[in-house]
Symmetry: C2
Subunit: 360 residues, 2 copies
Amino acid sequence: MWGKRADTVVHGVEPYNAEPSRTALAGRSITPLDTFYSRNHGTVPVLDPAGWRLKVDGLVDDALDLGLDELKGRFEHHTVAATLQCAGNRRAALLEVRDIPGEDPWGPGATSTARWTGVSLADVLAAAGIAHGAAHVAFEAPDRAEAASPPQTYGASIPLAKAQGAEVLLAWGMNGADLPPVHGAPVRVVVPGWIGARSVKWVQRISVLSEPSAGYFQAVAYRLMPADADYDAAPPGAGLTLGPVALSCDVLVPDDHARLAAGSHDVRGYAYAGDDRGVARVEISLDGGAGWAQAELEASEGPWCWRLWHARVDLPPGEVRISVRAWDTTGATQPATASQVWNPKGYANSSWGGVTLTVG
Amino acid sequence: MWGKRADTVVHGVEPYNAEPSRTALAGRSITPLDTFYSRNHGTVPVLDPAGWRLKVDGLVDDALDLGLDELKGRFEHHTVAATLQCAGNRRAALLEVRDIPGEDPWGPGATSTARWTGVSLADVLAAAGIAHGAAHVAFEAPDRAEAASPPQTYGASIPLAKAQGAEVLLAWGMNGADLPPVHGAPVRVVVPGWIGARSVKWVQRISVLSEPSAGYFQAVAYRLMPADADYDAAPPGAGLTLGPVALSCDVLVPDDHARLAAGSHDVRGYAYAGDDRGVARVEISLDGGAGWAQAELEASEGPWCWRLWHARVDLPPGEVRISVRAWDTTGATQPATASQVWNPKGYANSSWGGVTLTVG
C-alpha cells in the first residue's frame, strides 16, 4: 500500500499498521523507507506541502503561523539519527500470556531507525518565546481516529524539558529523502528515545501548555497499568503515562520456527535503551538463561539509536530457543519472562527477546 | 566514630565505611546526618574551611582559584534534595551467589537522601568559560587510598553534559547544617542520580578535560563487567564505566530474620531509578513472585530522590520471604535474582529486593 517490502507483516490495512519481518529489519543500522514500521490511528492524510501551515500557540509570547518554506528558511537544519519504537513493540509475547482483545500482536519489528532532517523544536519554541507557567508541549495532527473514545484527531504531548532538547525535531526529511505520506509528510515531530506515539506525524499545531494534553491518546491510551488494574474503569491520567522507551532487545534472524541446518550460524539483532541511556552489552543464551555468551555490539549511529549486535552460535539439532538480554549503561538488565511484565494494554514489553528455531 | 547511630553496620574503621541498618534508614524521606551512609577510600581529611581553595583548570578560558567565601559570594545558592547511592549497594546478595574477595558486603543501606546546599557546578564552569574540545569534568580530592593500584588520592569524572545540569552542586550544606568532615567538609561535589563514587568529597580541584579521568577510580574501579570476565586482566577502560544508578529497591523494616508476631504489619522500603527517570510503582510478593500487590508510594522530595513506599501485609506464621520489585517510568522492571546480575566487582545489583522473616 505504501511502498512496502513483500515480507512486511500487515496488522491492519485501514488504519494501516505494519512492521517488517525479523529478516527484513536485520543487519542494517538505518532502516530503509520501504521497511520502516508504520503505526497509524486513522487514514493516512496526503497533504499538499504548499498548503501546509504550522501554528505555534498557547503559553508563548508570540504565536507563530509558518509555511514549510518559512520553517526551512528561518531555522537551522539538523540531521539526527534516531530509533523510533512503538510502545506496543513485542506485544505478541504478552498476548501469549493473556489475550488483550482489540490490540494488535506486534512482533519485534515495531521499531526502526532513520536519519531525520529538520529543525529543532527548541529553536521554534524559542522564536515564539516560552511564557510563564509553560510545562508541556502538545502536538496536533489532522488524522482522525475512529477507535478513540470519543473519535478524535491524533495528538500527544511531551514535557517542556524534553521538548527543549536539541534532539527533538520538526522533520521533513527521512534518510535523505522527503518524508513519505505514511511517515508524516510534509512535517512530523521526532522525539528520540521516547515511545513512538509522541512523534506526531502530519503535525499542524504546537501548543505550549501548563498541563499534559487532555486528549485521548495522551490521557487515556498509552498508559501502563498493573496487571490487576481495571483499565476501562480507571480515570483519565491514572496509571503511568509512558515517556522514554523501556530497555528491550530481540533476535532478528532467522524468523520464529524457521528451519536451519545444524551447525555454526551468525545470529543478529538489536537492543535499545530509552532516551540516550545507551546499551552497554548484549548476551545470548541457548539454554534458557542458565549460561550466557556476550554478543558483539556493532558501531552506533549515535546516542539516540539502537545498537545492532551479532553472535556466532553453534546450533544443535532439534528445537532451539535463542534467548537474548541487554544491559543498559546503568548496569540494569531485563526481566526474564513476558508474564513478569504483562499489563492491561500490552505496552513496554521489556522482557528477554528470543526466537524458537527448528534445527536439523 | 563520626557521630553515628548505635545500629550502624560498620564495614571498616580505617577507611571508615558504614551503612545504617534497615530499621535506621526506614520511614524518613530525608536521612539524618547521624544515619547517612559513609563510603570512604582513605582517611577522612579534617580540613580548615578558611584554608580551603578550589582550583578550576584544564580546557577553560580562565582558570579559577576560589576560597570558600568567594564561592559562596560569587554564585547563586541552590538547595537540591538528592539520593546518593553507592555502586556497591546491596552487594551482600551478590556475594551469596559467588564470593568477591576484598569487597565489602554492603546491604541495602549504602543509599541515603539529603538536602544539599551549594552552587551549581554549571555556574562555576560558565564563569571559567568552557574551551574547545571539552568533554569531561574531573574532580580531585586530598584523601589518599592505599588500596588503589597504585596508591593515589581519590578522584572521578563525569561527562560535560551531566556536569552542566543544574542539579549538580558544589555543596557545603547538608540538611541545613554545614557538611560534617565524613561527608566532605568544607565542600563536596553532589552528582544526583549517578553512582555515589562521582560525588567527590573534599573537592579541591576541578579540571575540564577532553577525555574521562585516567585515575584508578574512574578507569579501573567502578567498572561493570560480564560475569565471566577476568577483571584483573582487563585493560583500563574496558567494561562499562558506571554512571547513572540502576533501578533498585529494598524492604527496610523489619531486619532480615527478625522475629515478628503473625498478623497484619506495615512493611516499608525505598525504590530508586537512576538519573531523574523516576519510580512509577512498587510491588510486593509473599510467595516468591507468583503474585504481587501494589505498595503505596509516598510523596517524593523531588525528581532526584528515592521513593519511599509502604504496604500493609498479613504475615502467616513460619519463615516468610518478602520480595519487592520496582518499575521505572519507562515501564521497565527488575530481574528476579542476584545470580542474574552477578559481576566481578559486585556493582549495580538491580535484582529484586527482599528480606526473610521468622514469623510466629
